[in-house]
């Protein structure tokens, strides 16, 4: 299907030199170049949730490199591509080292800062022609026509598009989307978010580098202006107009902006009877209105999600771990403490969970249960105390490390990718069990591993009863079933300890019974389960042991009936026996 469309697109490219006038071919070429750069921005902004107002800088680095090499160094244009990409990628890597440490709203600010710096740098570095730039850059090939250049650019665009599309439907692609949604969730699934953010950033820069290389040899003239802040923002506009969450958005946005600009530059000054950058004003107003009324851009209305194809179930399943012997101590905390300023959210927490055991952690609201979960799973670092997982000290090692040791968790406030399919959400849990990285995914060398990951996801979807909704967007499910998606995702990690934060909240009675059966089955397989739950019937019928927290302290622990009779517990829940 995709192959057929790619062939049609390639044939269309081959026809370009014969059907377009010289002027149209020039425009088509610039659409293609802008689209290649915008693809990188879609990966960066729409997919992985990072923002760059400095994208044009990377076009500039590659363009100036190849322009200088071929104009002054006597190198052929093709030699400028690898060198330009090396410089672009290297710079992006260094900037990424810095910017991946920069969080939240500081990131776009940082991109503005370096974009401004590079703009002035291009203008003042000796030998680059100052702010006027320099021309007489050789074309891609001697004697190349505008039409052939457009066709060539089209082929590069198609190749880049296919590589990106491959990436998005892979293990790495899922992880990139998780990055945008919640870094805490991604780390809890064993994803190295800082590294992934960095490689996405470099990849986006490399796409911009390819575009910059083409630009230099097609325009045959470079100056700082097309690589400054305004140009960078124009790429952001393209992605907003086209739709940041889909690759097609990059192409649509680039086409609209480049072609409309061409029309409006002529039309608007004539209408208004004065010269000026009215097309930019028009685009800007359009972008503001789009963000108000259609923040997802144009692409989603043109290309509705076709739903995810459910994978082939004949694939091999991943090998699973051998569970610890029943009764072995799997998770133990001693004197765990977390303070927020003067507030001791949790103090002196001593919990132990054995293989083949369900322990429930209960307590009134604000007792510190979720804080305890966050400490154990590594989302928070304790101020004091120790956590031993399978006998190894893991406190302060971070969520990613702990997840890889075999601890899975769910969240009190469900953290899913609402727009991705249920299957992809569940498969995200199997991330740590795969190895294919960005390059292998782009080249489709990951297919047998990917099939195994998806197959594993299917198996766990079956277990929690989500088989009928595998291809639906996870956000379309009722809350209770979203919790089941999280549980299946956690199971995909192949954990020996499973932390469940209010798994039964929002489930109907039958669903609760099914969940209890599932948890019992997992226990019987040797899994250690620790759960926080407010539904007492559910807890008391299921748990082997119950620990009670109040005001950050553990106040009781024991078998369910012991705890129920404990006067301290009754006091905490009911404010004392009347």
């Amino acid at each position: 299907m995709k192959g057929a469309r790619a062939v049609v697109a390639l044939l269309a490219c081959a026809a370009l030199p014969f059907v377009l006038t010289e002027y149209q071919a020039t425009l088509a070429g610039f659409v293609g170049i802008a689209a290649i750069a915008a693809l990188g921005l879609v990966l960066l902004t729409g997919v992985s949730g990072q923002t760059s107002f400095g994208h044009a800088t990377f076009l500039g680095l590659a363009a100036y490199t190849t322009a200088w090499m071929s104009r002054y160094g006597g190198w052929p244009p093709l030699a400028g591509l690898p060198v330009g990409l090396a410089i672009t990628g290297g710079t992006a890597f260094l900037l990424g080292l810095i910017t991946s440490r920069i969080s939240g709203h500081y990131l776009p600010v940082a991109t503005i800062a370096w974009c401004a710096s590079f703009f002035y740098l291009f203008g003042v570095l000796p030998g680059l022609g100052g702010f006027n730039g320099f021309g007489e850059i050789p074309p891609l090939f001697p004697g190349i026509t505008r039409g052939t250049a457009a066709a060539l650019i089209g082929v590069v665009l198609i190749a880049a598009f296919l590589l990106c599309a491959n990436l998005l439907t892979s293990r790495t692609g899922r992880a990139m989307r998780a990055l945008a949604q919640s870094r805490i969730m991604a780390e809890s699934l064993g994803i190295d978010t800082a590294r992934l953010a960095r490689s996405t950033f470099v990849l986006a820069a490399l796409l911009a580098g390819v575009a910059g290389w083409l630009f230099a040899h097609v325009q045959r003239y470079v100056s700082p202006a097309p690589f400054g802040l305004s140009a960078s923002i124009e790429y952001v506009f393209m992605v907003v107009i086209g739709g940041a969450s889909q690759l097609a958005g990059a192409v649509i946005g680039a086409a609209i902006v480049v072609l409309l600009r061409d029309q409006l530059t002529e039309l608007l000054p004539r209408l208004l009877g004065s010269s000026g950058n009215f097309e930019t004003v028009a685009f800007s107003i359009a972008v503001i209105l789009l963000l108000h009324y259609a923040p997802r851009g144009i692409a989603p209305t043109l290309f509705r999600g076709r739903g995810r194809a459910v994978p082939d179930r004949r694939a091999w399943a991943l090998s699973t771990r051998t569970m610890p012997v029943e009764g072995a101590l799997v998770l133990e905390t001693v004197g765990l403490e977390k303070r927020f300023g003067g507030l001791v959210a949790a103090g002196g927490i001593g919990l132990s969970v054995h293989a083949g055991e369900i322990v429930a952690l209960i307590g009134p609201n604000g007792a510190g249960k979720s804080t305890t979960f966050n400490l154990i799973s590594g989302a928070l670092s304790p101020n004091a105390g120790s956590i031993r997982l399978l006998g190894n000290a893991v406190e302060g090692r971070g969520a990613r490390f702990i997840a890889r040791q075999g601890l899975a968790r769910t969240f009190q406030h469900v953290k899913l990718l609402p727009e991705s399919s249920v299957l992809d959400n569940i498969a995200l849990g199997a991330h740590v069990r795969g190895r294919a990285g960005m390059v292998r995914s782009m080249l489709r060398l990951d297919r047998s591993e990917e099939a195994a990951l998806l197959h594993t996801a299917c198996i766990h979807a079956d277990r929690v009863g989500l088989t009928d909704v595998l291809s639906d967007p996870a956000g379309s499910l009722p809350l209770g079933r979203q919790r089941l998606v999280e549980i299946a995702r956690g199971l995909c990690l192949d954990p020996c300890v499973f932390l469940l934060d209010e798994p039964a909240a929002g489930l109907r009675l039958q669903e609760k019974q099914a969940l209890a059966d599932l948890l019992r089955a997992l226990r019987d397989e040797g899994m250690a389960i620790l759960l926080v739950e407010h539904d007492m019937d559910f807890v008391m019928g299921l748990a082997d042991r119950v620990a009670v927290m109040d005001f950050g302290q553990m106040i009781a622990e024991g078998r369910p009936e012991q705890v129920q009779d404990d006067p301290v517990v009754q006091e905490a829940y009911l404010g004392g026996v009347a």
């Binding site: 902004t45 949730g49 923002t51 107002f53 810095i98 440490r101 920069i102 969080s103 939240g104 709203h105 500081y106 776009p108 600010v109 940082a110 503005i112 800062a113 370096w114 401004a116 710096s117 002035y120 740098l121 203008g123 003042v124 945008a180 949604q181 919640s182 870094r183 805490i184 969730m185 305004s230 923002i233 952001v236 506009f237 907003v240 208004l272 004065s274 000026g276 950058n277 009215f278 930019t280 004003v281 685009f283 800007s284 107003i285 972008v287 503001i288 963000l291 108000h292 923040p295 406030h413 953290k415």
Partner: protein, 337 residues
Amino acid sequence: MDETIFLALLQDGLTTGAIYVLLAVGLLIAFSVTRVIFIPQGDLVSFAALTLASIISHRVPGTLWLLDGLCAAALVLSLIRGRFRALLPYGVAPAALTLACWAAARYGVPTPVSMLLSLTIVTALGPLLYRFAYEPLGEAAMLPLLIVSMALHFVLIGIALYCFGAEGVSTPALTEASFDTGPIEVSGQSLCVGLVCMVMVGALRWFFVRTLYGKALRAAASDRLGARLIGVDHALSGRAAFALASFAAAVSGLLIAPITPLSYDTGFEIGLKGFVAAVIGGLASYPLAAAGALVVGLLESFSGFWASEYRNIIVFSLLIPVLIWLSLSRGNTEDRA
């Protein structure tokens, strides 16, 4: 470098630094209340100078028509919803202002009156821009707000180019006096800039610490939902914050234009410097931002002497280490979910 040059550079740096203080403070107010990084603030700096120059040269400024247009739109929207009280702010007030401007341009008025008119027009634009560009986004994430800021910047420079052309303008100084202190001559304008800056910072401090409206704004800044629950009007506090930010921009514009000529697009760069200062303050701390603004001003002035071509590179690169430090000290957990 001898003492004279050093002192002259110092005077220059502190003067521009003081202007960046105003802009940084305005940005911080807008950001803390609305989470909007008000990039187009810099364009309003140009607006103020160009509007003043326009009135002085007996032309009705184009910014007035922009203001009237936005007011008319707001009026229509309010009347449709049956809010007739909007007639006063969106109908009568702009009509009176238009009349005053027209009269001022036609018959000529003393410069201070023209300044006042320019200040009023530009300050009034702030809340209206907020109303139309940002308010419909509601509780949007950081990114759409920032993109809107960028888009609004382009809209404003486009309008400025259309209304005023590409020519740079200089406006009359507040005072022509200068004082010979021995090694260098201290210009009266520099002293005025410093004085206005201090008065404004003091007044803002009084406003935020002493007055009910100031306290309400601070409440809205520290917890939007909480402030709403105790009756602080969400939209109103946003517009008030933008009025303060655009007022700071307008004052800055009138202070700089006598020193450096301003054209339709140069305000943006000045605004970015104020923004750099605000970021140095972590987009949260007023004293740090003010200190940062002075540092940026001095850095610009001294690097202009030693390596004038690299001036802007040095100023903008200053941000990167600051941002790293801020990110490391604030932790790295920001979730969309």
